[in-house]
Symmetry: C2
Subunit: 336 residues, 2 copies
């Protein structure tokens, strides 16, 4: 049997109102009374009931987070930053995965209603109709996923800038034919960034190599295809694919970066320690999360939504040879 405020109040010889005031803040209480209530609560191991509180206050401290698919560093780093920032804002994080169908998603969000008042999407299915979520009494925020409408808050990663920079770096390092190994969901401007860099340098040839997945195994599997293309520079949509290719190149006696320069995307830690250390593009994780949490914190301006784009940042390491002078091989300069 749960210990309620009423029981504590009886024990302390005061009214429920007074006990509540002492234990959950609010209103003035005389020192002696307060002490008596506190002692009674401790003696009985009183534990307030969050469900009742939420019901009464029509508010709660929980934010739902729909996590991305997959199991790689970026996703988890983002989730961890989110959880930390939400906690600092006094919020708890309720974890969910994006269901396979729109109906399941709506059912899930319905279940969350009453204890979560915000949902942050870090995953989205472009086949879903985002507008249908507007009827739910829960505010949706999109992080690095575009629902295709500005009726939601959107904090989007602008990949084109970083990709353009990395391709230009490959070209500066001497690459004359550049391959782009692009995943199916090659989103957020990776293709645009690549194409824009190539257009800027008419003498450079380019080839796009589509990939079904974005994992180590995919980069490894496409190794033959990449080498056959005759490219002397290659950009992968993920660091994982790039490191899978490292393995393939090694097994086939191809030297990186002497024979082919390599770059990835995501700034995963293993790339910084790979041999050679992997050039990559870093996400604006902190900035995006900060904006999302800001919406949660001052979430009262109903109807007004915000769309912001955050640029990505090039990190050049040994896998792109810089002609200035030979880089001392050490991972300490990686910026991680």
């Amino acid at each position: 049997m749960a210990i309620t405020l009423k029981i504590v109040a009886n024990e302390a010889g005061v009214s429920v109102r007074t006990a509540g005031r002492v234990l959950r803040g609010g209103g003035p209480v005389s020192g002696v009374t307060a002490e008596r209530v506190r002692k009674a609560a401790a003696r009985l191991s009183y534990v307030p009931n969050a469900a009742a509180r939420n019901l009464r206050r029509r508010s709660c401290r929980i934010v739902g987070v729909i996590t991305s698919d997959g199991n790689h560093e970026l996703i988890h780093t983002r989730l961890r930053i989110l959880e930390r920032c939400l906690r600092e804002a006094g919020r708890d994080t309720l974890l969910g995965s994006l269901p396979g169908t729109q109906e399941e998603l709506e059912r899930m969000l319905l279940e969350w209603t009453g204890f979560a008042d915000f949902v942050i999407f870090t995953n989205w299915n472009p086949d879903f109709c985002a507008e249908r979520l507007l009827k739910l009494p829960i505010r949706c925020i999109f992080l690095d996923r575009d629902p295709g409408t500005d009726k939601f808050d959107r904090f989007l990663t602008e990949r084109a800038s970083g990709v353009r920079e990395v391709i230009l770096a490959l070209i500066r390092s001497g690459a004359g034919k550049i391959a782009h190994v692009s995943g199916i969901g090659s989103s957020g401007g990776r293709i645009e960034g690549f194409d824009s860099a190539i257009r800027a340098k008419p003498k450079v040839r380019a080839v796009r190599i589509p990939s079904k997945g974005s994992e180590f195994a995919d980069g490894y599997r496409l190794g033959a295809r990449i080498l056959r293309s005759g490219a002397d520079g290659v950009f992968f949509d993920t660091d994982r694919m790039a490191l899978g290719f490292y393995r393939y190149a090694h097994e086939h006696g191809i030297r990186i970066p002497e024979q082919i320069a390599v770059a990835g995307f995501d700034n995963d830690t293993p790339g910084a320690y790979a041999i050679p250390s992997l050039s990559t593009v870093a996400h604006p994780l902190e900035e995006e999360v900060r904006e999302a949490v800001r919406i949660v914190t001052n979430g009262d301006r109903k109807g007004k939504t915000k769309t912001l784009y955050f640029p990505t940042k090039l990190i050049v390491r040994e896998s792109i040879p810089m002609n200035v002078k030979p880089i001392k091989p050490s991972p300490t300069f990686t910026g991680k």
Copy 2:
């Protein structure tokens, strides 16, 4: 203004009781009435209030999960498996970090009371007094962390078995002096497993090299120390440290495994694609999570707690040379 059951009932011209029966299951309702209620609910976009429901039913569908520190693959793989299994069991996952003090932890769990009835710890501070959590109306389950008392359910990783196997494999491959690079929290039997293997082979010498951290940078930093020790085999408490050492060895012209055989712990994906691919020890992640979720699912046997130990599993790859025959370099045999 929220649409309540009462409003839907009015709209449909029935009582609250009947509307509830239609929309949330339970009791028999005539087909025509049910249809009328459903239409009204759809028209009004009725959304049930979870807080009210939880309050009334004195139950909820949320399980708290205290995540581990750090930001590496193992932690996130475990969390992901947990979230998936809990969801399959009809539960939502509430994420939290382990606070710095016992008081903060207790305050946090108090806040969770009323919407979470279980907490799964995948992180723990040995300085905390676990017994004090018993007074909270929330059941605690420990995963791969030992609170030091069998008053809680505990599902623990038995690291000694896997470490013993990996050391014996290093010895079989020809290593005569083996270094153990051990993190501060070298827990769960890593030291015992190492020592037991060494004791079994009196001719083999051993050296323990303590490390403050368990990251890439720590393995890199200790490279000089390891080489100076004269070891021709080295076991790291984490794959990350091992891969950091790869980098150091490369920079100093040391060949792996010809000059020094290497093994790690955790079975991170990058190790499977490293050059040479890294031998390691895999965690019993699925098994542990399954048991924890089982407790949540049939969580009524109050007072009776369970302690189970799960063995770890050796994965030999190229970083330990096997004298049978030269291994074809390909990451496909890695068992990932």
